[in-house]
Amino acid sequence: MSTTTRKPAKSAAPSRVDVRKTYKLYIGGKFPRSESGRSYEVFSTGRSPKFLANAAQGSRKDARDAVVAARKAQSGWAGATAYNRGQVLYRVAEVMESRRSQFVAEVQAAEGLTAARAEANVSAAIDRWVWYAGWSDKFAQVLGGANPVAGPFFNLSSPEPTGVVAALAPQGSSLLGLVSVVAPIIVSGNTAVVLASQERPVPAITLAEALATSDVPGGVVNLITGVTSEVAPWLASHRDVNAIDLTGAADAPDVVWGDLERAAADNLKRVLRPAGSGVTAVEPDFTAEPGLERLEAFLETKTVWHPKGI
């Protein structure tokens, strides 16, 4: 940009009025507003909360549309090679890195962290994508294998994605927690419908933008902002959803995770319960190395038999 047309920065002239963003949902690779036309105010965390945004207040119909988009994308995503999925996940890390400062600022505001803590948080979130990217073509070797049956049969068990997974993102950890929930769902070929942290949705929306620009096919991750207690029951009872991650039910206002699990029983969804025991759900520590538990929670083991003969 030419400097000749620009006013000196140190002048006392009023600072430029910045262009604000309208925060929208992310469904099927597009960024629609809520079909309900509603939005809700989002504030920063800290001693003096500041207004951050009017986030879209997703409705049950938005959730329904997101499930349709996720279902449509699922077979293609699962059918991609594991190598390809790994590259796509790694690309997410690359794109996040390039928008690092934005993520840091948003996490800092959303979670009320120091700059240093926010930096660490964003770094961990980016590294989590890298970690899971590497798993894409390895978990099947670790979790599957040949079974030595007592007969002339080839017998092989392989893990496969369970299908469409609904996820309640953690309420507290707005980015690292979100990534820690989403990455293990999609790395194996599931598609996700994610309810962002109700009060801290801004980093999630930015993540959606990163996903949209990083080779993740539309519909693989769908993100809804809004009131967890309003939308979650519709996802829990949705019969075209194969599994639900209730991690974010801990600390979500007016949400009893047992009720969601009960609703999920209608079509025998696989349920990943929130951490903690019994009704005392807590948000887990996302800084620790995740292990395979989350990845495994959304896999089916398929076992194929075939005779061996001439």
Binding site: L143, A265, L268, G291
Partner: protein, 481 residues
């Protein structure tokens, strides 16, 4: 014209000693129920009363869970090697008493002796052998950090494979250090009660395995009991959903092995004679009382007539009758209730316009019987193509392309198993990838092995039983909370 009539070849019943009444097996001994109403178990082949069995009341469930809890403290601290040795002992005793188990199973369940003798009992023993070896090797099983038992496991099993389902449930639970309260189905309690004697002979510490008999109410009391840490259930999808609701929001984990409506898909390049055997074995094994039964035959249109003709000729050679006769292929339907259900759905099939066919064969006067039945001209939207009949009834549908076969096979809320018959290897692998089913049998059907994980997608339940995968349902991992 010579005819080769097979004279009756009954297995001797004298090998089993059925008591007139049975108590509950709690804390290592048979005890009387406190407040339960005794019920009778009958032979479905003759309707003869075999024994009177106790109904476990809520009190009894309490006692059994308490005994399992007490036993858990020492059982979970036993070395894996020692737990394994108990399982090896149990496996050996089951082999030693195999004939007794087989006869008792056929009497109480109605299944042909050749199946209880050659399938149920040997595979049940094999499950104990297999899991015995895991008991001291859990650290090598890739189960996650620090695998350890849940505690007390409540297990509810169905009537179709009473002893085998018991083995599927108890062997991995004990190998991983859990203790067990198991409820067999109300129509088939006898082999579980004989298994209790095996536990005694093996000197298994009291309370490690408790067997409580009863019906649905007892099962509910067990599943809902506060002292139960994990639930394992095999049975109908409806009950599975009820269990999932019961334990929602609690600490209890569950594995659920539920219903199915498997497609058995036959392509025009299939090894036809073996495919016909696979179709027969798929749906008529165990009177079709099999959750993974190949109840929907999807046959490629170009060979549909040929397959139907071969299938009918083959069915004409099936021998229906006395379960204890060694030549019987199809035994009795397990209960009047189940027979009624089969009759109802078969009537629906006829009303819907499907064509019903069954071979001529004489059925015994007493007991519960159903001829092996084939419905042709079935559409995907017929109820007999959608609902689990759980009986010897096959629905035949056709397809034209592999894609259509996959679409039809997957068009069901169930996802337990599927069959593929073709000599083309690449097509098998492609099909196996596409099918939403936990077990895919290619050029074979209804094969089971302790080393092979079993379990379904979608409404066929969750969790796997058997193999390394089956162990994971019985351990919790991660940091100690």
């Amino acid at each position: 014209m010579p005819t080769f009539e097979y004279a009756p070849a009954p297995e001797s019943r004298s090998v089993v000693d059925i008591k007139s009444s049975y108590g509950l097996f709690i804390d290592g001994e048979f005890v009387d129920s406190r407040g339960g109403t005794p019920f009778k178990t009958i032979s479905p082949a003759t309707e003869e009363v075999l024994a009177e069995v106790s109904e476990a009341s809520e009190d009894d469930v309490d006692r059994a869970v308490a005994a399992a809890r007490t036993a858990y403290r020492s059982w979970s601290r036993l070395t894996g090697a020692d737990r394994g040795k108990y399982l090896f002992r149990i496996a050996r005793i089951m082999q030693e008493r195999a004939r007794e188990f087989a006869v008792l199973e056929s009497l109480d369940n109605g299944k042909p002796i050749k199946e209880s003798r050659d399938v149920d009992v040997p595979i049940a023993a094999a499950h104990f052998f297999y899991h015995a070896g895991w008991a001291d090797k859990l650290a090598y099983a890739s189960l996650g950090d620090n695998p350890r038992p849940h505690g007390v496991v409540g297990q509810v099993i169905p009537w179709n494979f009473p002893l085998l389902m018991l083995a599927w449930k108890i062997a991995p639970a004990l190998a991983t250090g859990n203790t067990v309260v198991l409820k067999p189905a109300e129509t088939t309690p006898l082999t579980a009660l004989l298994f209790a004697e095996v536990c005694q002979q093996a000197d298994l510490p009291p309370g490690v395995v408790n067997i409580i008999t009863g019906a649905g109410t007892t099962g509910q009391a067990l599943v809902g009991h506060e002292g139960v840490d994990k639930v394992a259930f095999t049975g109908s999808t409806a009950v599975g959903k009820a269990i999932a609701r019961t334990i929602a929001g609690s600490r209890k984990k569950a594995t659920l092995e539920l219903g199915g409506k498997a497609a058995n898909i036959v392509f025009d390049d299939a090894p036809l004679d073996q495919a016909v055997e696979g179709i027969v074995n798929g749906i008529f094994f165990n009177q079709g009382h099999v959750c993974c039964a190949g109840s929907r035959l999807l046959v490629q249109e170009s060979i549909a007539e040929e397959v139907e003709a071969k299938l009918k000729a083959r069915l004409a050679t099936l021998r229906v009758g006395d379960p204890l006769d060694k030549n019987t292929d199809i035994g009795a339907i397990n209960s009047r209730e189940q027979l009624d259900r089969i009759n109802t759905l078969v009537k629906v099939g006829e009303e819907e316009g499907a064509v019903r066919w069954a071979p001529e064969c004489e059925l015994p006067a007493n007991g519960f019987w159903f001829r092996p039945t084939v419905f042709t001209g079935v559409s995907q939207t017929h109820r007999i193509a959608q609902e689990e009949i759980f009986g010897p009834v096959l629905s035949v549908l056709t397809f034209r392309t592999p894609g259509e076969a996959v679409a039809k096979a997957n068009n069901t809320p169930y996802g337990l198993s599927a069959g593929i018959w073709t000599e083309k290897g690449s097509r098998i692998l492609w099909m196996a990838d596409q099918l939403k089913a936990g077990v895919v049998w290619a050029n074979t059907f209804n094969k089971f092995d302790p080393a092979s994980p079993f379990g379904g997608y979608k409404e066929s339940g969750y969790g796997r039983e058997g193999g390394r995968h089956g162990l994971s349902a019985y351990v919790t991992t991660g940091a100690t909370k």
